[in-house]
């Protein structure tokens, strides 16, 4: 502790020194302990009950044969895990989640970047563009799913009707196992790209104007300025957006469950849905807790990567 804070503390405590009673800094310190934990207490209660406890309890569950009917509540060691690692259904759903993550993250970052770059040029009616790009983010997943299931309808849907004008045959957007995941990605892009777009826009508008002025004097055009000023300046934002997007995409569940229920033939079923179904439809809580932990491990891995990258950047 620095000397300045110590001297400030003593001057602030206005108690007369009485022998035998804690005074000055030490009184202050024990008071700080009490008030610190008092301020922290309300959050801590929720934190312990609804986050720490379920994490620990979930791990315990994963070591039991617990089911929703209450039977088999005994420790069975790691056999749920060994079963999961041999479970083709789990691997397939994990594969679907990873596939979705890869093919959704790229457009969700690139399109957001393009949108922000376009606005940053200084287009008129900024609010109008922001409203159009960002508004879908305010919708619940169910609303998005209703919109897109209707537009994807193979017979009556807007999209197939539009394509038929160019002689393109009807596509089974959500019924064709080769297409369904891409259709989910398109809907997701429409829904959440506005969030990344806003983060990019904020980052671009924080770039000092002098950078651009200097570049203009040197005769650099808009294109050149984008690549040699804007893009390098927003690199930290890009890193964060990519990592946050990967983490968000790995958790995908809502829109897939609502649009295809994981079909056709399990071709879009993500791992979160597999956990959900094993637990609540199959009643195997212990087993689904084990799969949750395998999934958790994956998230921890990605987060560790994020930590290493951001650490290296700031170091």
């Amino acid at each position: 502790m620095s000397s300045s804070t110590v001297s400030r503390q003593t001057s602030l405590v206005r108690t007369k020194p009485t022998p035998g009673i804690k005074t000055g800094p030490s009184l202050r310190r024990s008071r700080d302990n009490v008030s610190g934990w008092t301020f922290a207490a309300p959050f801590l209660v929720f934190f312990l009950v609804f986050l720490i406890w379920p994490i620990l309890y979930g791990f315990y569950m994963s070591l039991t044969g617990k089911s929703l009917t209450g039977a088999n509540d005994v420790l069975i060691g790691f056999s749920n895990y060994s079963e999961a690692f041999a479970d083709a259904g789990m691997w397939r759903s994990l594969g679907n989640t990873l596939y979705f993550t890869v093919i959704s993250t790229v457009p969700l970052v690139l399109v957001a970047l393009v949108m922000a770059a376009l606005l940053n040029i200084g287009l008129p009616a900024q609010w109008l563009w922001r409203l159009s790009y960002f508004a879908p983010f305010l919708l619940a997943s169910t609303v998005v799913s209703l919109f897109f299931v209707w537009m994807y309808n193979p017979q009556l849907g807007l999209i197939n009707d539009f394509l038929s004008k160019f002689g393109i045959p009807k596509i089974g957007w959500l019924n064709d196992p080769n297409v369904a995941m891409w259709s989910i990605v398109i809907a997701t892009l429409w829904w959440t790209v506005g969030f990344n777009f806003l983060l990019y826009l904020a980052a671009m508008q924080n770039i000092p104007a002098q950078h651009y002025e200097a570049a203009s004097l040197d005769g650099a055009g808009a294109w050149r300025q984008f690549f040699s000023i804007t893009l390098p300046q927003i690199t930290p934002t890009t890193v964060m957006i990519v990592l946050l997007q990967i983490l968000a995409s790995l958790k995908v569940f809502d829109q897939i469950y609502q649009m295809t229920s994981g079909g056709p033939g399990g071709s879009t079923r993500p791992v979160v849905q597999y956990i959900f179904e094993t637990g609540f439809t199959g009643y195997r809580l212990g087993y689904s807790a084990a799969i949750s932990y395998i999934f958790f491990g994956l998230i921890v891995l990605v987060s560790a990567l994020q930590f290493v990258i951001t650490r290296r950047r700031s170091a």
Partner: protein, 298 residues
């Protein structure tokens, strides 16, 4: 001394309200940019437009095999009338509103209190506490759903609003957003109050909180939108029809209405309306809020 500190402005993050680049005259490049932006905007508005047109069609026109933007038998409010007769949407909206409001309020109170302690008070175990909260940012909610459901069963909270509300009030990332902001408030502002013997809680309520309105609003917006649109947890923790939130309720209409496309779209639009209207009124605050909290992680 006091005067200078009081006039010192509080740090504020205001991501670009101004376009700093000098406006140039319309060039070919800029015209091209407008065209591309416009194409994207149209693509992004089409789903809204198509849903709206469908919602104002008769069911017969909506399911006609020929797709039309202007229905042969004209526009009608029938779909909305049927949806209102079914009577679920207002109830679901109310459920979403009060649960999201409660989640936002509780989150703000408990997060601001602990953020203040982390920012201003030196207490034993603070480092450990910070590490635990930072580490918890990575816990994905789906991992908690199985044990949390079981726990809520044990608490006999399943099918009560508490099951929806209580597990959603922990936002470790928001604690750090608030802490970072509190860290930037000059300590001198509090010293005068401390001299007068003001208690911690008074300093927090009368000095820190009023100076933190922008960040509190940002956090509130972020938490509220998340809670309002959350699907997975309310879906798991409620079966009672009278407790369904909007996103979960909408999921049930698909099976109930089957192929009634106009009614489906009318319901979806009614569900979308509240936040869109709020956004139209508070566009600047919401955009600022998302920009300041968004990178903190979810």
């Amino acid at each position: 001394m006091a005067n200078t500190t009081l006039t010192r402005s509080v740090p504020r993050t205001e991501p670009g309200q101004v376009i700093r680049q000098p406006r140039k005259k319309l060039t070919v490049g800029k015209a091209a940019a407008i065209v591309v932006a416009a194409v994207l905007a149209v693509l992004w508005l089409v789903p809204f437009a198509w849903a709206t047109v469908t919602a104002f069609k008769s069911e017969a026109d909506a399911s006609a095999s020929k797709v039309s933007w202007i229905p042969p038998s004209g526009f009608t409010f029938d779909a909305f009338a049927s949806v209102f007769q079914a009577g679920n949407i207002p109830l679901w909206t109310w459920n979403s509103l009060y649960t999201s409001a409660a989640i936002t309020l509780i989150t703000l109170v408990i997060s601001a209190l602990i953020a203040y302690a982390l920012s201003r008070i030196d207490f034993k175990g603070k480092k450990l506490l910070m590490t635990a909260i930072i580490a918890s940012i990575i816990v994905p909610p789906p991992v908690l759903m199985i044990p949390l459901f079981y726990q809520m069963l044990a608490f006999k909270m399943i099918d009560t609003p508490w099951a929806i509300i209580l597990p959603q009030v922990i936002h470790p990332a928001m604690v750090f957003v608030l802490k970072r902001f509190f860290d930037q408030i000059p300590r001198e502002l509090e010293e005068a109050a401390v001299m007068d013997g003001a208690s911690r809680i008074r300093i927090f309520m009368q000095i820190i909180l009023p100076l933190s309105r922008p960040i509190l609003a940002a956090v509130a917006i972020f938490v509220f939108i998340g809670a309002w649109n959350n699907f997975l947890w309310p879906f798991i923790s409620t079966n009672d029809d009278s407790l369904l939130t909007l996103p979960v309720g909408l999921q049930t209409i698909k099976s109930a209405y089957g192929v009634q496309y106009a009614q489906n779209m009318a319901s979806a639009l009614l569900a979308a309306l509240p936040l869109i209207v709020v956004f139209l009124f508070f566009q600047r605050q919401i955009i600022k809020g998302i920009s300041t909290t968004g990178l903190a992680g979810t």
